[in-house]
């Protein structure tokens, strides 16, 4: 396996295990980070998450659609420095509508069944982060970039 396949495998493993990521946005008052539940598409090209439209993160990402999301496997222990994997996904985010929304919503709810009510509420926006680059960090300081497009 080449570096690309190894990286993809690691990513697939991480994104299918983890449920939460840290979303970084930027708005009028500066940078902002928030914890969100996400679901990845099979090709890893898209990360879907949900938020109500009255939130700060929604305001920010509407004004500035380029965002980052950090997803990691830490358990808050010493071993994390060696064993934990972290990935930062970067790309533009957009609210999904129509069929694309329904499809993403189904995937999101399959991953987080207890969030079905939240995901389908009329006040909730389904958002897609179309990943341009993944930055994968292993063993403390080993970093790999994966350019998706």
């Amino acid at each position: 396996m080449d570096e690309r396949d190894v990286t993809l495998d690691l990513l697939r493993e991480l994104l299918s295990r983890q449920r939460l990521g840290v979303l970084a946005t930027h708005g009028e008052s500066g940078p902002y980070a928030s914890l969100v539940a996400f679901a990845a598409t099979d090709d890893l090209g898209r990360l879907t998450f949900a938020t109500t439209r009255a939130t700060r993160k929604f305001q920010f990402l509407t004004a500035e659609p380029r965002v980052a999301m950090l997803i990691d496997s830490r358990s808050d222990a010493d071993l994390d420095f060696h064993r934990a994997t972290a990935v930062t996904a970067v790309g533009p985010v957009a609210e999904l509508e129509g069929e694309a929304r329904d499809e993403a919503c189904a995937r999101f709810v399959a991953r987080h069944p207890h969030l079905a009510g939240f995901a389908t509420a009329p006040t909730t926006a389904l958002l897609a982060l179309d990943v341009e680059t993944y930055y994968l960090v292993r063993r403390f300081q080993t970093v790999t970039e994966l350019h998706m497009r």
């Binding site: 109500t52 009255a54 939240f118 009329p122 006040t123």
Partner: protein
């Protein structure tokens, strides 16, 4: 046990080794049976079956329901709501085929042979020192495998019943660990039944037997008054006999049990003879011997054969009444609700109206001081009396709505567990009628252009006012109403007033995906078209069926045998719904008479020493603690103060219950006094502790409602639904954390309030 626990265990295999998987009730029954007592044969659906059903998404959703908000912050209405939603989750989750097949195989003979009782048997529930009778459900007279499996699910769900949630700490309820076993037992349709205490709960030298004609359910749920004997514990000699008025009994009927008239010839006879009494007492003493602790035994007599239905340790009980017992006492059966309704509608309400009118006719100004004090005494007594009636009859009657909601959900399994409310709302309430009259005044004001509507306003106050004519309170009320009419008139001119029942609006940001907005209506900006509001409230792609259609479905689902009773229950629920509003107004009128007389005494400088102050209705509210924002800061620790100087905390997003769908955006108006109400501006969000009937007139002006009190069935939620306004209830600390003028977004779909 090393092998996996079987999903179903036959009676013969129930012993101490499997105790954690079969629960206290099953274990007790097996033990009694082995001791030679007649126990109806049974099987146990073990906790392994519960686990197989719940593990996975259902467990995650139970967690979500119970962890979203600290249960300690929930009022009992909210706890009931949470239990209702969890119950709906259990009903909506089908039994996996493999589990169903395994249960069918295990229960086969038991469920095929005839009617059974499906009973809860929670591990730990009946252990010594922790007896919690009646927290979980049991179902009597269930026939056929499908019905049995259906009721097994309902018993599982009752692990999270409102009653169980109230005692969650004592029960150690934990969504990740708690499990429920179910006893499926042959029914013994005894002609006479009852309970026996081997030792009187309050007297160590006495014992107690209670008995009714028919099945035990009538005694257990309090609908049938039992005959009661106090016995000498050692000899069994009868010390006292309290005979009941024997008129009704509970008998198996259809798919369940019914309260039926007791045949005349049995009315004059106590359910037990002296000989029977000795046998029943002997049974209780025998059970006490088996368990080495005083027992509370349920029994039934079929012919001369005496069966033991259940045995559990006697709780010391009643040590502290923290309100939970009172709350559980609010639960009423269908039959007792019918009686309650008659008493409220035919006796209490007319009597209250008559008394208020009679008191209002007393010319306080003409009484001398002595006469005024006597009148105060009379009014205080009248008010106290009605507060008692309110507590005793009115509050429990609200249970009709809950009982109906549960029956509706059982019959139709709707996605929205509150769909049933659509069948109740639209029932004209006093406050809706009052608001309609106000809207009429506003229309007159606008149409006529007259600045003064003194005559019309006075007529309005005569019909709907809370303060008696001529009182200082009436002056204030008139000024407030005049201001409200003025606002309504100008708001109506701008076309932005919620007009009740079928209409509503969404202000601010569009609440729906673009394809839902429809109709060309703009859903943006303050005061948007009512149609946009209506569309936004419906949610995605689910055109809501009308009230008539829902009623038809409900009655049809009830089946031919049950239709009449189902219709009766709906009628009861509608009465309960209407009363939740009206009864407050009736009581307020009596209270207004008392406060008017108090004001008169104060005006004259009479010393009353506070003894005539109106007593508040004490709602049973076993839970709910002051929000940290409302209480004093915790005592300072001993260490150095390392808190950051100048740091300020501010609420940004508050969580409550979604109680009225829609989104409202506007400035907050925190209402805690009449002055706040007078200052209420059109388009503001009403933020309050609890909506009082006297406050409802500003509702049509508001863009949304936020209430500290929680629950789907409380006044604020009801009125919000009537007007189609976004509403979030049960927001802890709402009136402290939100300030007048704060910009709020009320998300009535998700129960979220965003500040700023």
């Amino acid at each position: 046990m090393n092998a996996p626990v079987p999903l179903v265990l036959p009676e013969a295999e129930v012993d101490a080794r499997v105790a954690p998987y079969v629960g206290g009730k099953a274990l007790a029954l097996a033990k009694l049976s082995r001791a030679g007592l007649a126990v109806p044969p049974f099987s146990v659906v073990t906790t392994a079956a519960y686990e197989a059903f719940v593990d996975g998404p259902l467990q995650a959703r139970i967690l979500f329901e119970l962890e979203r908000k600290d249960v300690a912050d929930m009022r009992w209405e909210e706890i009931w709501d949470a239990a209702l939603r969890i119950r709906s989750l259990f009903l909506a989750t089908p039994l996996p085929a493999t589990l169903r097949d395994a249960l069918a195989a295990g229960l086969g003979p038991r469920s095929d042979e005839g009617p059974v009782v499906v009973r809860s048997s929670a591990p730990g529930e009946d252990s010594a020192g922790a007896s919690f009778a009646g927290l979980h459900e049991s179902y009597v007279n269930i026939r056929g495998l499908d019905a049995v499996l259906e009721h097994v699910r309902l018993v599982w769900a009752s692990l999270w019943s409102d009653a169980a949630l109230l005692y969650r700490r004592e029960l150690g309820l934990d969504p990740l660990r708690s499990r429920m076993a179910v006893v499926v037992q042959e029914i013994v349709a005894g002609e006479r039944s009852g309970v026996a205490f081997s030792r009187h709960p309050e007297r160590v030298d006495q014992a107690l037997v209670e008995a009714v004609h028919g099945l035990n359910q009538g005694l257990v749920d309090g609908t049938v008054e039992p005959d009661r004997w106090v016995l000498e514990r050692d000899s069994g000699a009868v010390l006292e006999h309290h005979a009941a008025t024997r008129e009704e009994m509970v008998a198996p009927a259809g798919a369940g049990v019914r309260l039926v008239p007791l045949p005349r010839r049995r009315r004059s006879r106590p359910p037990l003879t002296g000989d029977d009494l000795r046998r029943v007492h002997g049974l209780a003493r025998g059970a006490e011997g088996s368990f080495a602790a005083p027992q509370d035994v349920e029994w039934t007599l079929r012919g001369e054969e005496l069966f033991t239905l259940q045995s559990r340790p006697i709780t010391t009980g009643g040590a502290e009444d923290d309100g939970r017992a009172a709350y559980l006492g609010l639960r009423r059966s269908y039959d007792s609700l019918v009686v309650l309704r008659r008493r409220i509608e035919e006796e209490a309400l007319p009597a209250m109206a008559a008394e208020a009118a009679e008191l209002a006719a007393v010319p306080l100004g003409e009484l001398d001081d002595q006469g005024l004090l006597a009148e105060l005494e009379r009014r205080k007594q009248a008010h106290d009396g009605w507060v008692d009636v309110y507590t005793r009859d009115f509050i429990p009657f609200a249970h009709a709505v809950r009982l109906f909601g549960q029956a509706y959900n059982d019959a139709l399994r709707p996605d929205d567990p509150y769909e049933f409310i659509a069948l109740l709302s639209g029932t004209p309430m006093l406050s809706t009628r009052r608001n309609a009259a106000l809207a009429g005044l506003a229309a007159t004001r606008r149409g006529s252009g007259r600045a003064s509507l003194a005559g019309e306003l006075e007529a309005f106050l005569d019909e709907f006012g809370l303060e008696p004519p001529g009182s200082p309170g009436r002056e204030r009320e008139r000024a407030t109403m005049a201001a409200v009419v003025e606002r309504l008139a100008s708001a109506a001119a701008a076309g932005s007033v919620a007009s009740g029942a079928a209409t509503g609006r969404a202000t601010g940001r569009p609440a729906t995906p673009p394809e839902e907005r429809g109709g060309g209506a703009s859903a943006t900006g303050e005061g948007s078209d009512a149609r946009a509001g209506a569309a936004s409230r419906r949610g995605p792609a689910t055109p809501a069926p009308g009230r008539d259609e829902l009623e038809r479905r409900y009655l049809e689902a009830a089946g031919d045998d049950e239709r009449e009773r189902a219709a009766g229950l709906l009628d009861l629920a509608r009465a309960g719904w209407r009363l939740r509003d009206d009864d407050n107004a009736y009581l307020d009128r009596i209270e207004a008479q008392l406060t008017t007389a108090l004001a008169e005494a104060e005006r004259r400088g009479l010393e009353t020493g506070g003894r005539f102050a109106p007593r508040a209705v004490a709602l049973p509210s076993p839970l709910g603690r002051p929000h940290p924002a409302a209480s004093q800061p915790a005592a300072a620790g001993t260490g150095p103060d390392t808190s950051p100087a100048g740091a300020v905390a501010k609420a940004r997003q508050l969580v409550g219950q979604p109680a009225g769908p829609g989104v409202g955006v506007g400035a907050a108006r925190v209402v805690s006094s009449l002055d706040d109400l007078r200052a209420f501006e059109e388009g503001e969000i009403l933020v309050c502790d609890a909506i009082e009937p006297g406050m409802t007139f500003v509702v049509p002006l508001s863009a949304g409602i936020v209430e500290r009190r929680g629950g789907m069935l409380i006044h604020g939620a009801i009125i919000a639904r009537e007007y189609g306004l976004p509403c979030v209830t049960g927001v802890p600390g709402a009136t402290e954390l939100i300030h007048t003028g704060d910009r709020l977004t009320v998300d009535g779909y998700l129960g979220i309030v965003v500040v700023g």
